[in-house]
């Protein structure tokens, strides 16, 4: 039987060249990126175009006002002549006030030293390979606040003239309130969170009452109570430092929020972790310190930083109790009749916004960095 190979396999063997297929869709380069990211579908295309138009509509005039048409040199007269641009000379002539408030001029070197130490400390702690980080952290969290207080307030024994708190102001005051709030609220918040989850009824009840009380009233009300009502309850003639009242109010307020953030992290730790720690025979505080809290706090880093950023911005509320933080001092400066010019208030507020944005964004970036560094597979 003759094998008719050619016919029986002809369906499987290719006899010639295949026709050319169209080239695969290019995924490299600008064009495809635009197509994939900006115009993939009708809805996204509409969104892209409308966002683009919005930016086109606002950005040029904003940049014009902020930069190109702004007054960068000269005095108040230069701004009066040009009402349609930011008046940066106003900020330039007042930046010392914005930074130091009414702090004694001859004593401002003290703040400079503190700011320098603060900058070095933050960089040190943020830099991964820095040596002696634990020592530095102890210094920054425990010794530095005490040191700062004596540096800023002064002390007869150290030979530093007293500068009373009503003279503190500007960005320095913003930092003082925000940093003391941040430094106080984290440990306090952790303790409160543990207290609320405690099996001991009284402790749990007290923690819950504390948290719900401070969370239930607005910060403005806390500050008003601290300023207006509190002095009336004290015996006549006894005054209590206004700034201290505000700082305590802000710290307690923030710690209530922090407690709930931390509690969220504690809830997320599976029961097995607790049981494992107990099976190893670890006492409560060791279990918390070595097993539970490192995991719980890592989970809630975004929440913690969120609270910090909120706290940082909330410090501007001390304005209403007549403490001159950055926003307060800018508002007071706007009232100077020599600078009573149309563009000055806008410039002042824009300046405050820029400063706050830089601070908050730095915190956000740092938190992202920490998250990346600590991630152990929970991250999506």
């Amino acid at each position: 039987m003759a094998m008719d190979n050619t016919t029986s396999y002809s369906g499987l063997v290719n006899q010639g060249n295949l026709p050319d297929k169209p080239a695969p869709i290019n995924t490299e380069g600008l064009g495809p990126w635009v197509r994939d990211n900006l115009f993939n579908g009708a809805f996204n295309s509409v969104l892209t175009i409308s966002s683009f138009l919005l930016v086109l509509y606002t950005l040029p005039s904003a940049l014009n006002w902020l930069i190109f048409n702004a007054v960068w040199s000269g005095g108040s007269d230069a701004c009066r002549v040009n009402p349609d641009g930011a008046c940066w000379t106003f900020v330039g002539s007042r930046w010392e006030q914005f930074l130091y408030g009414f702090y004694e001029k001859s004593e401002r070197w003290r703040i400079n030293i503190l700011l320098a130490i603060l900058a070095v400390g933050i960089i040190w702690l943020a830099w991964e390979k820095a040596p002696a980080k634990k020592l530095m952290a102890f210094f920054m969290l425990v010794i530095f606040p005490v040191f700062s207080f004596f540096m800023m307030y002064g002390s007869e024994t150290l030979g530093l003239p007293i500068v009373e708190t009503p003279q503190w102001g500007g960005f320095t005051l913003t930092l003082v309130i925000a940093l003391s709030g941040i430094v106080a609220s984290l440990p306090l918040g952790i303790v409160l969170a543990l207290g609320r989850r405690s099996n001991m009824r009284v402790i749990s009840l007290l923690s819950t009452i504390f948290i719900e009380f401070w969370r239930g009233i607005p910060l403005v009300a806390v500050l008003f109570m601290a300023t207006i009502m509190f002095p009336l309850f004290l015996p006549a003639g006894v005054t209590f430092d206004q700034l201290l009242r505000a700082v305590i109010g802000v710290a307690l307020f923030a710690s209530a929020y922090m407690a709930e953030v931390v509690r969220g992290g504690l809830q997320a730790i599976p029961k097995g972790q607790y049981e494992g720690a107990m099976a190893l025979g670890l006492p409560f505080w060791k279990m918390m310190r070595l097993i539970i809290l490192p995991q719980a706090l890592k989970i809630v880093i975004p929440g913690i930083v969120n609270t910090f950023i909120g706290l940082f911005k909330d410090t501007t509320l001390v304005l209403i109790i007549a403490l001159f933080d950055l926003l307060g001092i800018v508002q007071a400066s706007i009232a100077d009749p020599n600078w009573s010019i149309k563009s000055v208030p806008y410039t002042g507020y824009a300046f405050v916004a820029i400063v706050f944005w830089i601070c908050c964004y730095s915190m956000a970036r740092y938190s992202r960095y920490i998250e990346d560094k600590l991630h152990t597979g929970h991250k999506r």
């Binding site: 003639g237 005054t239 209403i320 007549a322 009232a335 100077d336 009749p337 010019i341 149309k342």
Partner: protein, 337 residues
């Protein structure tokens, strides 16, 4: 809210009752070595920090005058900036010795919170309109849109004025003065109303300040003055006569420049004023020359006015009713004799 207010007021009264003893404030002030003075958080021409961070203004000058009267040193004063809400608590709780914060003297405030010692600026609510509106009197404002601040007496005064005169109007209200100005400047309303000193200050923030006029009508009385705690009459006298001293000095032609020569004047009135004759200062626990010290370091009322709010300043406020009674105004201080 009413309850809170009642508690606050009664607590304030209780605090006052505890504090008030004649001479106590002066002793305390002498003890600490400075006067603690409550001012605003920034009101152009009345109290605001200048480029150097020093407080300046008409109200600030009064604080400095009290310091000069007590210590012969106008710098022996510390300023506590106060919001409108906390100003009276600060006074009654003893946090400050004098409240010099563009505070309108009203009967309820005088009885509830402290003792007004006089008036250092007669203000009143006025209207500003663009010249292009072609209006020369507030009576022609029928149907106007009025820009003003929320929650202040200015809003109530406008309502009273327009209702009393049977005029239609719409209120466009904002929280902050800067917002009101920019709304008015953008043409969202025809009229801008606030105290006349405020109108003068905000006018410089308009794109074309010269295209706007302030109408002649004044629709409210706002006598602004400093006040002290109830009960300490001696301290009240010190504040009152410091203010009177500045006004009387202007009336008698005593200025910071000529106060030294004037001390040897033959005019018995000037002699009593400057303490070269009589013992008027001693009667209120001060040096006899307290008024000379005030005028030498702060100046008389007219000098302070010209320096802070007068025609030469950006505010460009004419003396108007704040001129001396002898020059057509209503400034009339009791004689020092």
């Amino acid at each position: 809210m009413q309850l809170v207010k009642t508690i606050a007021v009664s607590a304030a009264l209780a605090a006052t009752a505890g504090l008030a003893n004649a001479g106590e404030t002066l002793d305390a002030v002498n003890g600490k070595g400075f006067v603690q003075c409550g001012v605003s958080q920034g009101l152009p021409g009345f109290s605001n920090p200048d480029d150097q961070g020093n407080w300046t203004g008409l109200d600030v000058d009064f604080c400095r005058a009290v310091a000069a009267a007590v210590f012969n040193d106008a710098d022996a004063v510390k300023f506590t900036p106060l919001s409108a809400k906390v100003r009276f608590t600060a006074l009654t709780s003893g946090e400050i010795d004098v409240l010099s914060r563009n505070t309108t003297w009203t009967m309820s405030r005088d009885s509830d919170f402290g003792e007004f010692v006089g008036v250092n600026y007669y203000d009143g609510q006025g209207f500003m309109v663009p010249k292009s509106l072609g209006v020369s009197s507030a009576m022609e404002l029928d149907g106007a849109a009025v820009c003003t601040n929320t929650g202040t007496t200015t809003e109530l005064n406008v309502a009273d004025f327009f209702r009393a005169n049977n005029l239609d109007y719409t209120v466009v209200a904002f929280e902050k003065a800067d917002e009101v100005v920019s709304a008015y400047d953008a043409g969202r309303c025809d009229v801008y109303t606030t105290d006349r000193s405020g109108l003068a200050a905000q006018r410089t923030k308009l794109s074309e300040p010269d295209d706007h006029v302030v109408l002649p009508e004044i629709i409210s009385k706002e006598p602004l003055g400093p006040l002290v705690r109830h009960g300490d009459n001696q301290w009240g006298d010190i504040a009152r006569w410091t203010l009177n001293c500045m006004i009387n000095a202007e009336e008698m032609g005593v200025t910071s420049a000529n106060v030294v020569e004037m001390a040897s004047s033959d005019n018995p009135g000037i002699k009593r004023l400057l303490g070269t004759e009589g013992d008027l200062g001693g009667k209120i626990g001060l040096d006899n020359e307290f008024c000379a010290n005030v005028v030498a370091s702060v100046g008389n009322y007219g000098e302070s006015y010209d320096r802070n709010v007068g025609p030469e300043t950006p505010l460009k406020l004419d003396r108007g009713v704040n001129a001396l009674w002898s020059q057509g105004g209503i400034l009339y201080a009791a004689p020092q004799r």
